[in-house]
Amino acid sequence: MTTVRKRRQYRRQERLLPYLLLAPALVLLVGMLYPFGLGLYYSLTSYWLQYPNRFRFVWFDNYVSLVSEPLFARAMQFTLGFTLVAVIVQVGLGLAVALFLHARIPGRNVIRALMLMPLMMPPVITALMWKIMMASTNGGILNYMLSFIGVDPINWFGSTQGAVVSVLIIDTWGNLPFVALVLLGGLQALPTEPYEAAQVDGASPVAMLRYLTLPLLSPFLVLVMTFRTMDSLRIFDVIYATTAGGPNDATTNLLFMAYQYSFQWYQMGKGMAQAVVLLLLIVIASYVLLRLWNRAAENAAQ
């Protein structure tokens, strides 16, 4: 073999090698994409587990009948409304906590370490813990503590508003540390020179926050917003373990509706159609957020 041929062979190997390295992961991935493709097909059929004889290809009937259902509009409303409120509350509070921990307060490292505890807990266990604390009688510790400041016992999971607020509180407890710690990491990575310059110019703390910290922090803010939006759009564990979508479907989001169709009533076709609708919503949200992220990264780099 001449050197030229050898080199050419080496180059071809070099071209193929990354694909070979990716192959095992791709096999597992295709293993995941195949059932997904199957699911897309099922969403166009009348697949009902209990009535296999009724299996027919129905084109977009599932989608049409879903969208025209009254519950669909309510579930969509709850999904979007919950996501909006949860992201605003969690990013707002998380920013406050991050700024607070960034100031040199005593016991900061202890608080920071303890905040890791809710962070890595199974969300369903978080929900169960709060379910114990949110018992609706005065025996529930939360209602008991609220009674000291004159609040009447709240029917946490039994009332429409109570259930929505409960899910929000539980989700916030589990995810506030995530937002706070990512933003704290961002704050600690900020350059110090602009602040020194601003101080020389006599800028107020509020002005520094508004015109220095927030713009510099924007890539991190968009990052946590992206993760929190995506996870809020498909929140399931907390709802399943506490309200089960109720009362009166008040906490049924698009995902829970898909779960009910497929695993309570075994209408797999309709459940899958619902899942595809949710997936589309998430794709749109991720597209918007990725563009925001790119813009924030560009602005911060300037």
């Binding site: 809710p118 604390m133 990491g185 990575a189």
Partner: protein, 289 residues
């Protein structure tokens, strides 16, 4: 961000800061404290009004978890907790082992090669982090029933790849990219092949990063709830699904549910101490340090 108020104002400001620190601390740890207390209470103490802070502790709830005895209560609410715990360990370790085996070469390819579809693949792996699980669970449920994978550890391990593989690839990629290119170039000049670079240079240098990835991946699998809820049965339930078995139509076994919560969370608390510095990085798939 110093601002220099007068002495009185500073005193007041410090008081506000201290109060905020206390509120944050209580908000963070009180649920743990309360559940720990609940898990040590007898059934009558648990439902007492007002709630009891002082009581005679009992370990009945924990022994009930281990030996499954319900002290004359409904048999239908009897979970099998030691088995659930073992299931969690088996499935999480299996899933992480598979993800690491497939993830190391994939992460190496995405970190150190240039090829046309590179960004497409990277984005494809990342997108699984945001996908609604139900879109996979419905077809997997049908498929697993025909393939005999329903209610098996292997079936769960394969489904868990949706959680652990994208995470593993992105996390390892971020660790591999931290290794200076010069070391790799030097090895190449010394006659090391691309695979040789991976085995002799990248892997040893990123060993701590791989350890972190393994631990965090294990923790994410431990937290999984959706897949086992639909794809596992009583023989293969992990702790997350096991813990909700204390809620039945007849009653809620609050004490045992609290004990189960504490036991399910223990490995997470211990492991998160080990990887404290990397948790944020792990939760953002390597994006934020």
């Amino acid at each position: 961000m110093t601002f220099r108020p007068g002495f009185r104002q500073r005193y007041l400001w410090n008081a506000v800061l201290a109060a905020a620190a206390v509120v944050l601390l209580v908000w963070t740890i009180f649920p743990f404290v309360w559940i720990l207390l609940t898990s040590l209470k007898s059934p009558t103490d648990i439902i007492s009004i007002p709630p009891k802070f002082v009581f005679t502790p009992t370990i009945d709830n924990y022994t009930a978890l281990v030996i499954g005895e319900q002290h004359g209560q409904y048999a239908s609410a009897r979970p099998d907790f030691p088995r659930f715990f073992l299931n969690s360990i088996i499935v999480s370790i299996g899933a992480v082992a598979l993800s690491i085996a497939a993830g190391i070469p994939a992460a190496y390819a995405l970190a150190r090669f240039n090829f046309p579809l590179k960004n497409v693949f990277a984005f494809l792996f990342m997108s699984f982090r945001f996908v609604p699980f139900i879109a996979f669970v419905i077809p997997l449920y049908i498929l697993y029933h025909t393939l005999g994978l329903y209610n098996t550890h292997v079936g769960l391990i394969l489904a868990y790849q949706l959680i652990s593989l994208p995470f593993t690839i992105w996390m390892l990629r971020s660790f591999f990219m931290e290794i200076p290119l010069e070391i790799q170039e030097a090895a190449k000049i010394d006659g090391c092949s691309r695979i040789g670079v991976l085995i002799r240079i990248i892997l040893p240098l990123s060993a701590p990063g791989i350890a972190v990835t393994v631990i965090l991946g294990f923790m994410f699998c431990w937290n999984a709830f959706n897949f086992p809820l639909m794809l596992a049965g009583r023989q293969t339930f992990p702790v997350t699904v096991g813990a909700i078995q204390f809620i039945s139509y007849e009653q809620v076994l609050w004490g045992q549910m609290a004990a189960a919560s504490i036991v399910s969370v223990m490995p997470q608390l211990i492991l998160s101490l080990l990887v404290q510095k990397y948790i944020v990085r792990g939760l953002t798939m390597g994006a934020a340090r």
